[in-house]
């Protein structure tokens, strides 16, 4: 308690030097929390959109299905087993049939995935209802990225070629019924959505599917022979890895900020121990122990981070509350990050982030403040009084 009182007194009386360090340290606090909240918000938002558009409450995969091996796709389909069928009948799940195909937009060929989806499904946020109108031919929908890369537009006719179950080539023309915008690239890039029943007919695979997507919050009906249940933590693994990789840049930035702030504190400590050696001698002459002097100087250094946390709170809380509510308007360029984000990004500042960062910074500051004080441990009071630092 005495140490704290004295340290605070020393620090506040030291004036400008203290406040320079405190403000620098508070920038680190705010920057770390700000950036981390940005990425947490990004992660959460991307995850929510991806779950809504693609993963639902988890997926049953045909046991041959391996999204990383396109060559297996020809065999990755089977008749939907009864337990899943009844969920589908109750609109609690929806089947998707996936077939490799080739399209010929403007005479060039291109490998794509042909995905059959029930136009009446409500399980996923994919705008499948656009596939209901068949008056202009077999309708197909594609995402805006696909439209951009192929040059296809609404109303265009495109030839799709695939192999049926017997391996023979077949082809049909489909009409682009709509180009949809989605933040989720995995329902957009290199794929064409057509009505499930048409795809089944083309490929002669009635009642079959590659995956069955459960609705959100639908409990999986247990193990189903020949099909593997993939829960959300499995499905989201790649996404989380991606976000983590993307946030490495931010981590480096904030470690750098933290490092600079620590350097400032360390420097201040080393300097202050050097300049104040006579004061240390006086303190010892007045009856303070070496341990007491070490505690005092360490506390002075560590108090920087407490003051910094308070200062950071003064401008950081309003700032972060503001952006968390208003969100960031993101330029389209944000799409190049490898995953799409909504039009606006809302950072998430969780209590664990704020408390965790504060504790981390305070801890590191205390250690950094303590290290230079170890010189005091060998200090003789007589040397200190003569201005010597042994």
């Amino acid at each position: 308690m005495l140490t704290l009182t004295l340290a605070l007194r020393n620090l506040l009386h030291a004036g400008l030097r203290t406040w320079l360090n405190v403000v620098a340290l508070s920038f680190s606090f705010v920057a770390i929390i700000f950036l981390q909240g940005f990425y947490d918000g990004l992660n959460e938002q991307v995850e929510r959109a991806t779950v809504a558009a693609l993963y639902g409450g988890g997926q049953y995969w045909h046991s041959s299905y391996d999204p990383y091996d396109p060559l297996t796709l020809d065999d990755a389909h089977g008749v939907i087993p009864a337990p899943l069928d009844s969920l589908i009948a109750h609109r609690q799940a929806t089947p998707i049939l996936i077939r490799p195909a080739t399209i010929y937009p403007q005479g060039r060929f291109r490998s794509v995935l042909l995905k059959g989806i029930d136009p009446d499904q409500t399980v996923l946020s994919i705008p499948s209802a656009l596939l209901k109108d068949r008056s202009h031919g077999i309708p197909a929908i594609i995402g805006s990225r696909m439209a951009h890369s192929t040059g296809l537009q609404k109303g265009d006719m495109v030839t799709v070629q695939w192999r049926d179950v017997h391996g023979t080539f077949d082809a049909r023309d489909v009409v682009i019924a709509e180009v949809f915008r989605s933040t989720v690239q995995d329902i957009d890039n290199e794929q064409i959505w057509i009505p499930l029943d048409e795809l089944r007919r083309f490929t002669r695979t009635p009642d079959e599917a590659t995956i069955v997507v459960l609705g959100q919050r639908v409990a999986p009906p247990g193990s189903v022979g020949g099909w593997d249940f993939r829960d959300l933590s499995f499905l989201l693994r790649d996404l989380h890895t991606l976000v983590r990789m993307k946030s490495v840049g931010a981590s480096i930035l904030y470690l750098l900020l933290l490092f600079l702030a620590m350097l400032a504190i360390f420097d201040t400590q080393v300097l202050s121990i050097w300049r104040r050696r006579k004061e240390m001698g006086t303190l010892m002459a007045l009856g303070m122990t070496r341990g007491g002097v070490i505690r005092l100087f360490t506390t002075e250094g560590a108090l920087h981070s407490i003051l910094a946390a308070l200062v950071a709170a003064m401008y950081g809380i309003p700032l972060m509350a503001f952006v968390a509510n208003t969100g960031f308007a993101l330029p389209n360029a944000a799409d190049t990050m490898g995953f799409a984000i909504g039009e606006k990004l809302f950072p998430v500042y969780s209590p664990s982030l704020v408390v965790g960062t504060t504790v981390l910074v305070c801890l590191v500051t205390t250690i950094v403040s303590f290290l230079p004080t170890r010189r005091i441990a060998h200090l003789k009071p007589t040397d200190a009084l003569r201005g010597k630092l042994s």
Binding site: N10, T282, A285, L286, G287, T289, T382, L385
Partner: protein, 236 residues
Amino acid sequence: MQDLPLVVTHALDKTYALGQTTLKALDGIDLAISRGEFVGLVGPSGSGKTTLLNIIGALDVPTSGSAEILGRSVETLTHREAARLRNEHLGFIFQTFNLLPVYTVFENVEFPLLLQGIETGRRKQMVEEALAWVGLADRADSRPSQLSGGQSQRVAIARAIVKKPDVVLADEPTANLDAANSHHIMKTMLQLNRDLHTTFVFATHDEKVIGYLHRTITLVDGRIARDEHAGDSSHS
């Protein structure tokens, strides 16, 4: 009480290693200082005054021989025990005042009491009393940088005596002061010696100080050359 010695040294030596050679700063010091004395270690620069004063102040230990302060052998004290002894029983006054620069006058004088854990109300009263003794009651809120040398040293005196120590050790207290201020603080300390029976031990080569001493111990090359009481000339 009166004749129980506060400080006793026996065959006290202090040597410093200087590269390959050694330097004998104190050589066979036998000394006894009693309660209530107003005594000075005098002698030319380098004669060992500060070294001896620091040992008496439990800031340093003898190389051989013994030094007992208030019945405690400084050579056997742990660092912590020595700090406690200084805090509770000893007051220090330095040539360069050594006030804590960021503290006010009040806070400087209060400091030893904070270390002792004395509660706020009594602390305030003791500090005010000490400042009144040295005639600085009106400067309680000043900072050391706003004080003259004489005022600074008076604050240092107040800080040394505020806890009513058994001994005040003053190393060249007038070396940075002009004649008027030197006389002023010597009179102040003499007054405190008389009124509070505080023992004062000086280390000095300042004639103005020597004129006030009741006893003068002259050091030459780390040895006691003379030990005289005011008004006599007996050699020890």
